[in-house]
Symmetry: C2
Amino acid sequence: MSLRDARIVFTPSGRRGTFPRGTRLLDAARSIGVDIDSVCGGRGLCGRCRIVCMDGNFAKHAIVSRASNLTPVNEIEQRYSERWRKLDDGHRLSCQAVIRGDLVIDVPPESQMHRQIVRKDAEHRDIKLEPATRLYHVEVQPPDLLEATGGDLQRLCDALAWEWHLSDLVCDPVVLPSLQQALREGDWRVTVAVHKHTTIVAVWPGFRPRAHGIAIDIGSTTIAAHLVNLTAGRVIATDGIMNPQIRFGEDLMSRVSYVMTHADGASELTDAVRQGVNDLIEEVCGLGGIGPADIVEVTMVGNPIMHHLFLGLDPRELGGAPFALAIDTALDVKARDIGIAIHPGASVYVLPCIAGHVGADAAGMVLAEEPHLLDDISLVVDVGTNAEIVLGNRDRLLACSSPTGPAFEGAQISCGQRATRGAIERVRIDPASLEPRYSVIGSELWSNDPEFDTAIEAFGVTGICGSGIIEVIAEMYLAGIIDEHGVVDGALAAQNERIFADGRTFSYLLHEGRQRIVVTQTDVRQVQLAKAALYAGIRLLQERAGIDRIDRIRLAGAFGSHIDPKFAMVLGLIPDCDLNRVESAGNAAGMGAMIALLNVPARAEIETAVRQIEKIETAVEPRFQEHFVSAMAIPNKQDAFPRLFSVVARPPSKQLAAGQGTRRRRRRTEAEQ
Amino acid sequence: MSLRDARIVFTPSGRRGTFPRGTRLLDAARSIGVDIDSVCGGRGLCGRCRIVCMDGNFAKHAIVSRASNLTPVNEIEQRYSERWRKLDDGHRLSCQAVIRGDLVIDVPPESQMHRQIVRKDAEHRDIKLEPATRLYHVEVQPPDLLEATGGDLQRLCDALAWEWHLSDLVCDPVVLPSLQQALREGDWRVTVAVHKHTTIVAVWPGFRPRAHGIAIDIGSTTIAAHLVNLTAGRVIATDGIMNPQIRFGEDLMSRVSYVMTHADGASELTDAVRQGVNDLIEEVCGLGGIGPADIVEVTMVGNPIMHHLFLGLDPRELGGAPFALAIDTALDVKARDIGIAIHPGASVYVLPCIAGHVGADAAGMVLAEEPHLLDDISLVVDVGTNAEIVLGNRDRLLACSSPTGPAFEGAQISCGQRATRGAIERVRIDPASLEPRYSVIGSELWSNDPEFDTAIEAFGVTGICGSGIIEVIAEMYLAGIIDEHGVVDGALAAQNERIFADGRTFSYLLHEGRQRIVVTQTDVRQVQLAKAALYAGIRLLQERAGIDRIDRIRLAGAFGSHIDPKFAMVLGLIPDCDLNRVESAGNAAGMGAMIALLNVPARAEIETAVRQIEKIETAVEPRFQEHFVSAMAIPNKQDAFPRLFSVVARPPSKQLAAGQGTRRRRRRTEAEQ
């Protein structure tokens, strides 16, 4: 073997360098900026610096790489392999392997400190793992009478500066009482959690491989939590509970009323939501096999009222004009200061609110759906009692909320109900016979399936949920039962008795059984009002931005995730767009909280984005009323929705060749089931 | 009147400038850097910008200044004068008065933002008023539907940036819940407390003129507190209580033993001292006519064990080698995080500890006595069960502690007691007759005064306190009752029966009454042991530093403040020094806490000074034992204490002309009573 320096090539980065034989592989990698993780400080405990030594002749680099060009597997690696995770052939801990010759070394994704967390959706960028709180394993100098080395904390800080280049650290005072014991129990080796490279927030004796965080989405109805391993960037468990505030009122405004009419109302509601969050944290930690005290970081999103109540702020001001938020900027607070029972040094990051009705949930939605990063014009909508609407692209982003009312959630609809078992969620109406078929939550079967009645026997058909309402009214329109003004065509009563006179207007009988499920003229009006409000909000933003063409639409939230975009477009909830680019965004707000949990720069990113969003207040915009009135009608698709029309291929009026188009649409729909 | 710009001279700064007529005086002053305070933002509410318009011909400046060169007193000034504090002739609010011609304006000390707080003692520098937490009065823009102006907090921050140039502020989350109400109750005018120019820690509706802080000194026996008006830099009230930890043990080591022998011992002691501090805060606030929630800032000093227990840290490690502190650096924590019940946003600044036995109290002592700033060599000593000793000057400072034991506190002395009513504290012995006279705590009279018995009848003579022990033994030595080896001269029993055989040694009867107060040979030995330990510590530092000459000596702490320096030097507690420069420092530790409360830069100053102090551990210094043994003897003053001798003027042995010297000393002493 020649005595010249060894040449090392690292993949996939392609970084290369020459190093004296005898150099530790981890040191070589770091000296040329190769991104290799390590929590234990090169002690062979954490295995995060695992690399793969490539075998073969790499002509491109003029290098012959072989396992024997590294020192043999040593005792520390053997112990790691036996105790923690088997090291396959060629796999080595780079903190133990020493260079003896030329090498090509592959750094697998899981060994990269800033590894990418790949999102399933091809349209979204990956998330770089860069949590706010990171673990560091250090060996601390014991105290010594002869040398003046400072207190335990000082020596811990010295060790962190020496081993990890973390300087000027401060220590959360709640960590101090456990510091002495941790150091002595760990025989002067401890694992330290450091928040944002500045603050020691936890100290544990010995080596600790993992830190955990939770992303929380506080909705008016449900609270959802994702438990995340912050060291690996993996979701470990997901869980949700009902928001215990429901006992004070079903919807947001009834809770604000409660606060207005009860002296301690605000603190009762705050206690309730915090208790709910604490219960949920305990549950989701249980699922993940850890304890709440293992959680070092939480991120939170929620609508403005949930945001305020969670932070202990009176939501009264949000109940009326001028809808003043107490705080709209992001907040990074100690969990203990807001009564969240996790690790005492842990932080809670609360995403910023956009405006009085456009909350941290909308900010989370933006962070997840990234309209602020794209050239394409995005429309991102979270449809609830208030629709939160964001429109624009990297150049300009506008937001507003629109008072859609509770119709989309199944409320104020004669047979409406929440999206629970027994609720009709899918509807099709045959345009020739005007006969419906439908499916209910709790079964995959359609109502014309022979097994349907047996399948749903336990709970029956109990009502229509939000997405069912949209489908049935869209199908009524497509079948010609209602016209573009939303009027139920009483003349059809002669053709099918499901259309029947109901007072001075006509209704449509969707289901007959233990309960009669009927769609009334008033129900149609309610949905028209709701969708007109939503559409008027969108139009207002379009008009302000001078934007006609929308390139992509994302429907977020519980309702938005369940409605079929086609029907939303048929009814004119959303403007015309290539139907392939109209998609459900799922719980985009929660995803935003998760991104802020995994990646600190994303916090600055969304804070900047939110500051730059133009906030439009629909309540004082005269044009909103105009748009609202003109959006009451169901659009004539041929004129207004050319792109939708090309997919649905169904003319707006029965007079045109209805049959073919309907069948084509049906095939698509059924293939998607 | 000419139309040229007006010339203004400000005194005492001497700053001058020319300004367009019509300029507001406060603006003119600030534009040229004249230090004028203002809390209300120029609204004529706080009166802190009051100046005096000088009348006359100031030839030196070629200026004729007269009251009419300012606009007349306006309504706001009249209202201020009626409601708050009368404005004398020529006194104006500079925020209201507008320049109309040449002026000489005096800015009185109380109107300077960084005014000097004059310390009585000429030897100490003045303290510049620069507290960590300052008040700012602002007017906040109300929320407005038409303008997107951000949340309440954002608009408050905007106002603070606009009016006070405070940018990038963050807000303590505990302030948020009261923010909305404060803004609305104050009709969008609020007073804000900002900590270190970075963090909003309190918001009150309307104008609030004063902020308060408390400096706390936690001693093993007593806890003392000074309540300070941080806006004016004035001490409002001082109070002290017994440390409630006393029920767990009289002295420090018995409390550490309690912790070692009881599972929850540390937290019991922590709870006790925090409860004591909270009680004391409530008491001292009561004296000052305010509530604990008005306190926005606290500073704390204490010995290492009190420091640890107050912070909730286990003191066990301090009970044995290597005496490792959990934290030695200074700490700035939220009061709420350590259970101190003041304003929820308030901070507690804890001074740094110097070493395992030299605590934050010693750091406070250094800050107050300033050895680190002087060219003169200082010896600063806090004498307790452990003496904390600091020696050196601006170039080099050394510190150690010395285990003097409890003799100086009256313990382990046969008739010793704490310094409470009835304890003998002053003693004189006539060298001819060997008859004593003495005074006790609770009366100003000497025992040979005819009124003495009546004056002390209620409590009697109960024992000897620490300073009494020093005096009686020093006087016994000066009267020749004991020799320089501390042996009671039994031959004198023939001369005065107060010297009597007591077992195999002799004792001295100091007082005969309900209780017999006797000084035994063992008592003398105890004091010799204690003073030898103290002196050995001092010698060790002198030797290390190569310092022979000591320019000034400060005796701090309860004991140090009460002993007569002369007697301390006679017995050889402290080395030779010009007696005029040996002084009691009073509660120097508490004074240090007060300085850190009033002046933020003093915190950085003491942190740097403490880092640079050389810590000497007496327990591992072989030379300490040597010094200790050789310090057991009482010094031959003629040889070792030439400067003391020149004052006391009393030869060490009776053979020399004792009478005259004694009388001279007596006169001095009595003049000082």
